[in-house]
Each structure stands twice: as C-alpha cells, then as structure tokens.
Subunit: 320 residues, 2 copies
C-alpha cells in the first residue's frame, strides 16, 4: 500500500526532523510529558515568500531563519527550547530540491539549538509559499521576562549590533555594498540570544524584530514609561559603518528602524549591570547601554550627543 | 503613543480571545503552567482560502471550522483542549468586517469547547488568505490513542455519518440539492467528537479528514493490518441519501473518499463494544461498526453485501 504524494513529501522532508513525542509524524498530533515543575512558553511566527524572505533565498537559509526568529522569542523570555510544529502552504512549481535544502537547514539548527520537530501540516496554495512555525519552550515558574516590567531609571540595553539585518536586505537587493557578505549573512541568519541568564537581571525584555524604535515603543507602552535613547550609543557593526556612504541620508533610519535584527532589548537596573556583564561575557555576546527609561507618558525619544531631539519619519515596520 | 496598524488589528480582533497565559497578547509568547501529571498533546493544521474553504465563506464559519478541525485531532487522541495559537497571512483587500466575523466565530467556539487563544502572528501576503492554527491539549500519561494500536479482529467503527462534508461542498457549489442546508452545515461546521471516553475502549483512533478510505489506509498501514469494510454498513445521513439521485454514479465514491467528515475512526475489540456503546450514548454520538481488521499486508478492501470487492478509482484526497 503506497503513500499518497502529500504523505510521501512529509516522510521525505520532515520525518527525519521528528523528535521524541512526534510519534514519527505518523499521527496527527504529538504527545510528550512537559518538564515537571516548569512553566511552558509558546510562540508562533509566520514567514511569507516575498514579504519575509526573498523569492530566490535558498531553502536552507529560509528554514534556519524561520526557526531562529521563533527561538529569538524564547530567548526574549529567558526560556529553553523544547520543540516546534510547522505548517507549510506550498505553491505550484516549487521544486522538491528546495524542500530538501529547507529540511537540511532545519536539521542543522535543531542540532545547534537542541530541539526537534513535533508535528505540523502540509497544504497547497495558489499564492506564495507560507511557512508558520509554533515553538514550545520552558522556564522556571515566575521567571519569564515580559515587556511590562521596566522600572523608572532602568538602563535600556541591546545585545550585539543594530541595523545589520535591514542593511543586509539592502545589500542583497543591490542598494549598498557588502564585500564580505557580513550584512547579507546577518539578514539570512539571525542569532537568537539564548545563552544569556537574564532572570533576576533584566526587569523586562523583548527581541528586536520590527526595528529598534518600534520595538522599544512596545516596551515603553507596556511598562508605562518614557524611553530615551542616545543615538550615538547604539552599537553598529563595522560592516554597517562601511555601508554608510553608499546608503546615503537614509542610513541612520535604516539602522534605527529597519528591523530583522533579532537582538534582545533589555531593561536593566543599575544594580544588575555587573551581573548582565558577567552573563554576557560567558555567552560571548556584547551588551551595550543605549539609553534609560524614565517616568512619563509612554514615548520613545531619540537624542543626538548634544541633547537635540532627532525626528524619525518612519518609526518602524508594520505589516498593514 | 499610538499603535502601528498591525498591532491595532491584533488588539481589535484577537485580544478579546486571549485567555490566561496569553499575557493579553502584549508579549510575543504565552506562558502557562501545564496541568500537573498530564501529558501534553499538540497538533497544527493550516487552511488556505480557495483550497480548504470557499472564497465567499463567511468569516465566522471559517474561524469555527479552523478551530474545529484542530479540536478533531485532539478528540482522536482522547485529549482535553487547553488553548491555541494562530497565525494569519492576510491578502490585500480583505475587509476588516471579515475578521470581525472570524473573531466572533472563534469566540463562540472557545466558549463551547472550553479553550482560549494563547498567541500568534499576523502578516501580509500577496496570495490567498492562509490560516494556521496550533492546538494544545492534555491527556493522562499513556492514554493517548494512536493510529498504530489496532489488533487483528478489532472492529472498525465510525462516529456519526460519513460523506456529508464532501456532499456539503458539492451542495454549496450547486452540484447537488440540499433543501434544508444540512449538508452545507456539515461542510462548514465539523463536530469534533470530544465527548467520548475512549481510553481503555479503542485500540487505535484517528479522525476522518481526507476521506474514509484514505484515512482507514493510514490506520491499516500504521497498525500493519488488512482492513475490510462492508460498504452497506457505512452510516449515511438522510440528507446524503436524498442527494444520491442528483449526484449520480459518483455519489458512493464521494461518500467513501470525499473528505471533510471530521468523524472518528476507531479500532475496537469485541470485548469493549459495550463500553463504546455506553460512552457514545452518554455523549449523544452515534457509533457504527463498518468492518474489521485482520492479519495481512496493510490494505483497505471495500466489499458489497454479496462479498464482491468494490474498486475505488480515487482512494482519497491528497494535496499534491
């Protein structure tokens, strides 16, 4: 008795990714015992061809990015990955090879980040490829970091460098030079900051996916505070600096509002700065203070070194 | 500080659905404590406009069907619903009213089935509307029903009636009469069979979504058994019978292979038939034995009352 084509497709590309609990993807559901005494953390993110990734992006990079943007949500909560479910809506004509690469990319990142596929669904669509991933993780009860916990006086910190993802998209589309491919790599492969121990260190956290300004706005609104950022303190990579001349007047806005960074944005009290530095050093992740939260109506203010307020025409990326 | 349009959309249509653990959809992730001492069950199903539902289908019915096809997966495992995550990829021009109805449909079914929204993601797409739902439930450890557990001699049982969903689609597309709208209703609104207590009663279970013959093939293959069905015993509704003349020669194949039934398919030993009858009676769900599993190479054989084998040209629905 042979398998219908849809199930052969699943067996070929997805069964090798299935971990404990997935029941070999032979059933419609996965069954597993959650780690005792831990809270569960769940998140879902979808990616659409032509919106979140380029039509020519190779399958392995798309698979890894899809998993990593979801891992970044777990990192922002201080959670440990457990597994994921995946639905793919496949347009006509996408070659089977593309999915072989997609599966290989997922396999590599499963190994690196310590999780496996639990289940999912495969359907056809007449439109572009749509990928939806739900991730599960766990965290000590009460230890999950939220957006609403920032306190007046907390420093605003970011991991890594800001702006590389947006400039990487510009580089892939030929708008800025990227001789070493560093920016393109940052666009294709986010680095989820899972290695940091942030419980008891940060009061609030989220990941920067829609642009620093917009995402800081979420932290400010949810915490009921005014956020002030000194633009000159925002960490920028050498590759992003090198692209500055070619990018022209829009460079600073691309860095501050461009999105696709997948760095963490943290609210950290002065008393925890040493602990933050230590966990960052152990994880090999740079952390930089870029401003401070203060009492006041929820807002984001960007300042030059002189104190002058910098207007931003476009605060960030919204899908509608 | 106002919300970007994407977030206002989420606040308007999805925040009212958020339950405990969803953190008001203010964070990217949900956090909750799983029921102690229970195994978790997770499943995901996607639905694409024009593939899984008609472009003119009202939003409330699409929302309810999306949730119910996932609830049906939990029912097949004998699990209790806990919550769900939702990603929506929205084409240009779909009116806001459609999503208001979609949210209202989900709200009604959340109430009926006792679960709530945990999180998700909203994106744009240039193609048709794509909806992906991940459902979480729980079950006593070791009690989850799987496809691979059927034993030689087990009766093959189904809940409810078979074929109404496929004939409902035919009715909505004007191919068969449906004076009372019964068939269309069965296509739009599956009835997940969550009320049955099947642990210790059924050896194996799955839900019938891709057509009785194809799905029975999955049970047969995963259990390593030959399945024999007496076609005259397959329960068919009065509405489906009434559509028989109009549907012509293809009627029987539509019933047996058409899909969208969302009834349960069960392998039940004779010793548990009385218990099955009792839980079915309490739940108000009809159950019917339609055949038997036997030792032999995995296969599905359909027989007439005379014993003659009935060939089926098209064994079921596959998306590729």
């Amino acid at each position: 008795m042979s398998l219908p084509p849809e199930f052969a497709f699943i067996a070929r590309h997805f069964r090798p990714l299935a971990g404990p609990g997935a029941l070999g993807l032979a059933d419609d559901t996965a069954v597993f015992d959650p780690p005792p005494g831990r809270s569960l953390v769940v998140a879902a993110d979808a990616m659409v061809q032509g919106v979140h990734f380029l039509p020519d992006d190779p399958g392995d990079l798309v698979g890894r990015k899809l998993l990593r943007v979801n891992l970044s949500d777990l990192a922002a909560m201080g959670a440990t990955p457990l597994g994921y479910l995946l639905t793919v809506s496949v347009p006509p004509g996408l070659p089977d090879d593309w999915f072989a690469a997609f599966g290989a990319g997922l396999a590599a990142d499963q190994e690196q980040f310590g999780l496996s596929l639990l289940g999912g669904d495969t359907t056809s669509t007449t439109g572009p490829l749509v990928l939806s991933l739900t991730i599960l993780g766990h965290v000590a009860p009460g230890a999950a970091l939220r957006r609403c916990g920032a306190q007046p006086g907390d420093g605003i910190w970011v991991t890594g460098t800001i702006g590389d993802g947006a400039l990487g998209l510009d580089a892939l589309q030929g708008r800025v030079p990227d001789p070493g491919g560093v920016l393109a790599d940052r666009y294709h492969l986010p680095r989820p900051r899972l290695g940091l121990v942030l419980a008891g260190v940060a009061h609030a956290a989220m990941d920067v996916s829609d642009g620093l300004v917009q995402d800081l706005g979420h932290l400010a609104r949810e915490s009921g505070l005014a956020a002030e950022v000194f633009v000159a303190d925002v960490p920028v990579s050498a590759a992003a600096q090198a692209a500055r001349a070619a990018a022209g007047a829009g460079w600073r806005e691309r860095v501050l509002a461009g999105g696709d960074d997948y760095e963490l944005l943290l609210a950290v009290p002065e008393s925890a700065e040493q602990a933050l530095g230590e966990t960052a050093r152990r994880a090999g992740v740079a952390v930089t203070r870029i401003g401070r939260f203060q009492s006041g109506a929820p807002s984001v203010t960007l300042r030059e070194r002189s104190g002058a307020v910098l207007p931003l025409e476009r605060a960030g990326w919204s899908h509608f």
